[in-house]
Assembly symmetry: C2
Amino acid sequence: MGKQGYHHGNLRQALVDAALALITDKGPQGFTLTEAAKEAGVTPAAVYRHFQGREDLIAEAARQGYQIFGELMEHAYAKGQPSPLAAFEATGRAYLAFARRFPGHYQAMFESGLTLQNHPELALAAQRGRATLDLAAQKLAEQLPVDKRPPAPMFSAHIWAMSHGVVELFLRGSPGTRSPFGPEDLLETGIGIYLRGLGLLPPDR
Amino acid sequence: MGKQGYHHGNLRQALVDAALALITDKGPQGFTLTEAAKEAGVTPAAVYRHFQGREDLIAEAARQGYQIFGELMEHAYAKGQPSPLAAFEATGRAYLAFARRFPGHYQAMFESGLTLQNHPELALAAQRGRATLDLAAQKLAEQLPVDKRPPAPMFSAHIWAMSHGVVELFLRGSPGTRSPFGPEDLLETGIGIYLRGLGLLPPDR
DNA sequence: TGTACATCAGTGAACGCGCGTTCACTGATGTAC
DNA sequence: TGTACATCAGTGAACGCGCGTTCACTGATGTAC
């Protein structure tokens, strides 16, 4: 990828890719600008032609993550249509699939300590995936009689929390959290039981 | 706290406390041995009288966290007895209460990047709280007819994941995750819906 | 097709900094007599 | 009660290191003529 000589060709993206690889390997704190530059075959100073500094590079990695995430969520939602239930379950699976396939992006987004209010372009990108989950929850909630319908933001917050918890505890190896069940199984069954509790799935199993 | 002169009196615990305060303020990666020593009014080299190094100090902070956590969980469980349902719900609340009251400990335990297999004494301490949650889930599951009973470890993994997710996303300020609902409300309602899905709470609300 | 030149991506050396860790030391404390 | 001494918790100076960042520069590229 890229040219060979003095000019790299696509250094900007190569740096983002190197950062993501490093974050995947060592976590967001293990990543250093210097090492990302070395990985891309370039002097640390060259980074400053493309980014304002270390934080700006991480932010770009996170931004790309939010973008991919938003696209995956929208795609999953569309694929489950017109069934609100199928669409909702597909977004749940997409969340976990994203975390598994793009661990560097996931960590840049959720574990790098970036604050969204300091990065408006990040906040915007983050909005998109969130909105899709909210929409899926909203549509599904509308299946319920009005008086038994939970507020959709609460509904989606529950699902988001369980998904995120499964990722952090059982997909990534947070200390001492081995489980006989795989993350996908855990999330699938957990959401299933939750939906049954809402009356959106038939009782029993 | 402690003596004033050349000898500190209780430097070991003072260093742990300083580390916890720093982790609370800046996260586990923002903590430095040097600053913890300064906070305790002591030279960095003095730390080595009491700990093997930086990681050992964090590990001790995490160990104390696991201990407090285990005690809180056991206490909550006991308080809810003899009702399996009350005991279970109390442990759920205790999880969140712990994260809120002891954020430094919580982060040292779950976000410091310590691996339990490198610290056997940590793995042991971690076992205790986990075991209490498993027990509460087990007892509650026994309320169900055998054929409708989910495996207790799966059951407790679901609850643990949701609790952890609520803490990370809605208690701590993970980026862009504002919600109109407080963490306690979210966890309470989320667990309620989940238990209803298991048939452990009456349908409807 | 060939030459002059502007552009600007990347170089390389240097900086100040704070880190974790080491080492020989010093001085406060407590005990033996 | 007073003195000598052993203990050992904490000092302070030093280290090597890698970090993020800056700066004047250099050399590859593409364009104008």
